[in-house]
């Protein structure tokens, strides 16, 4: 029974994601939009690994997302023409940064933790902003692009075919989601739930809370940087805005909007957010006011998020 309950949402998500380019196209979307939903959904799910399942709020995850993006872009521009290498470099860059920052902040809690993560996120923003000889500064890093994938005799032209790139992204997303889900169902994952539920009790069960928080932070930052690397490949471009604090805020609102206590919630939140953004910013210049009001309304009237509300309905 419990296995079935677990498998049902995952299968539903799989079916919806595999067919997304078609049904999104039918309602006026396009393939690139679908890819963006999956990429930002992965980032929001990575953040939610920490927020929803470990119980600490990072408001600076754009830093690891952006570092993943810059790592990938710079690998393609300066190192070698390989998408796989680019993704690997991006993930390594973001994960190492998360490991270093994480070590500095695991003793902090609550709003203080949030505030320090916000501030640290800005370090990387200023580095990319200022170091323009390497990063392109404010204008972003251009002069590179993703390349066709080659696996021996097989070739997949993700460079020119948007649909091929979508499935490449979706494959990596699937692996990432499977790994995160498996970790959360493992004994280690349960210690994270324990920390979320009651830190004092967790400590008095013999869990070294700081060490587990750090591990969770690194895992979360690692998957956020994978999303960032894919984001750079998607746009064939990356600029400092990808790691600024407003991007961090967007990830948090996606997680909350979709439902931060549910595994797939952030993906749903990302879908709503990305589609709205696409729709609204093509019609008005005041996208910022719109998104700001959106934040306020979600907080006031929809704090449990879509899947949180659905689940509550179902159990009631």
């Amino acid at each position: 029974m419990s296995r079935l309950r677990r498998a049902a949402p995952a299968s539903l998500a799989a079916v919806l994601l595999v067919t997304m380019p078609w049904w999104l196209g039918a309602v006026g979307g396009y393939t690139e939009l679908a890819t963006r939903i999956v990429v930002l959904g992965l980032a929001a799910m990575a953040l939610n690994f920490l927020l929803g399942f470990t119980g600490v709020l990072s408001f600076g995850h754009a830093a690891y997302f952006g570092l993943g993006g810059y790592g990938a872009a710079m690998a393609l521009k300066y190192l070698a023409p390989s998408d796989a290498l680019a993704v690997a470099v991006g993930v390594a860059a973001g994960t190492v940064a998360a490991a270093l920052i994480g070590a500095l902040i695991v003793k902090l809690r609550g709003v203080y933790f949030a505030m320090v993560t916000i501030a640290f996120g800005q370090v990387f923003y200023f580095i990319t902003f200022r170091w323009d000889s390497v990063t392109g500064g404010d204008d972003g890093l251009t002069g590179w692009s993703r390349l066709p994938l080659r696996l021996g005799p097989l070739a997949l032209d993700v460079q020119h075919r948007d649909l091929a790139f979508y499935y490449f992204v979706l494959a990596l997303f699937g692996i990432a989601a499977a790994v995160m889900g498996a970790v959360l169902r493992s004994p280690f994952g349960r210690t994270l739930l324990a920390i979320r539920e009651n830190e004092r009790r967790a400590r008095f069960l013999g869990i070294p809370v700081e060490r587990h928080l750090w591990l969770s932070f690194v895992i979360s930052g690692g998957f956020a940087s994978l999303a960032g690397a894919l984001f750079a490949l998607l746009n064939n471009f990356i600029d400092p805005r990808a790691l600024r604090w407003d991007q961090s805020g967007n990830f948090v609102i996606m997680a909350v909007l979709g439902g931060m206590r549910s595994f797939w919630g952030p993906l749903v939140g990302a879908g709503i957010f990305v589609v709205l953004q696409d729709f609204v910013s093509s019609r008005t210049e005041n996208w910022m006011s719109f998104v700001g009001l959106f934040f306020v309304l979600v907080v006031l009237f929809f704090p449990r998020g879509v899947l949180g509300v659905l689940r509550r309905r179902a159990s009631a």
Binding site: V183, S186, E197, F204, L205, V209
Partner: protein
């Protein structure tokens, strides 16, 4: 006799306030010790020192001959000290089974595992079922702990502590805020753990019926200092204890 826990002249100051003043205590293996005293006697602070919530201002604490004065809580747990709290500390949005399972897994050394072998999985399940049965929680195993009655929550907390296979169990007012029936059930549980399993238990308690029913020996604290120690009969006759209690009541 061999003492499992030896508290040697510990003092805890909070600014000007001396919450615990040069208290010493020896608890033998297999003993059930009650710590009593009027409100503000420093019982809970004393407990926090033993369990490692914070280190004492001065004095030393030994467990099984090892100096544990400076060890953090999770290291003391690893040595075999488990505790419950006055305000029940549990994982409210997880089920009873999950609460116990986490404790069992951590105790089994699995806390960093990403998967379990079939055999380990079987052992963990069996152990959780055993604990559920022992606490009489079998029928509520898949309910969220936050939705249970006060008594069942407390029982869950005691069972998670027991899942750690402790050599010393510290219970901070296990029957606080409970009705007669719940109090009786908890008292019976503690008694079984002590008599049938030979578990060493130190308990802070207000309910005198519970104390005199359960304790092998009683330590009396008053205003942070040790007032008396002895078997229940001695303590019941002790005049300074009576004065302290009556004085405290007034």
């Amino acid at each position: 006799m061999n003492s499992l826990l030896a508290v040697d002249c510990v003092t805890q100051r909070f600014g000007q306030l001396v919450a615990v003043n040069e208290v010493s205590m020896l608890v033998a293996e297999g003993e059930l010790r009650a710590v009593i005293g009027p409100n503000g006697a420093g019982k809970t602070t004393f407990f926090n020192l033993i369990s490692g919530l914070f280190p004492p201002t001065s004095g030393r604490i030994y467990f099984d001959g090892k100096d544990i004065t400076a060890l953090p809580p999770q290291r003391r747990v690893a040595l075999g000290i488990a505790r419950t709290f006055q305000v029940t500390e549990i994982f409210p949005e997880l089920t009873v089974r999950e609460n116990l399972r986490i404790a069992v897994e951590v105790t089994g050394g699995h806390r960093l595992r990403l998967w379990l072998r079939r055999r380990a999985e079987g052992e963990i399940r069996a152990r959780v079922d055993e604990l559920l049965a022992l606490g009489g929680l079998g029928g509520k195993a898949d309910r969220l702990v936050g939705e249970l009655s006060h008594g069942d929550q407390r029982t869950t907390e005691i069972m998670t502590s027991l899942a750690l296979e402790p050599r010393l169990l510290l219970l901070d007012e296990p029957t606080a805020g409970m009705g007669d029936q719940e109090t009786y059930a908890i008292a019976q549980l503690v008694r079984r753990l002590h008599r049938e399993r030979g578990l060493t238990i130190v308990l802070v308690e207000h309910d005198m019926r519970v104390i005199f029913h359960l304790a092998d020996r009683i330590t009396v604290l008053s205003e942070g200092s040790m007032l008396a120690e002895g078997v229940p009969e001695e303590i019941g006759r002790n005049e300074s204890v009576q004065t302290a209690y009556l004085g405290g009541a007034r």
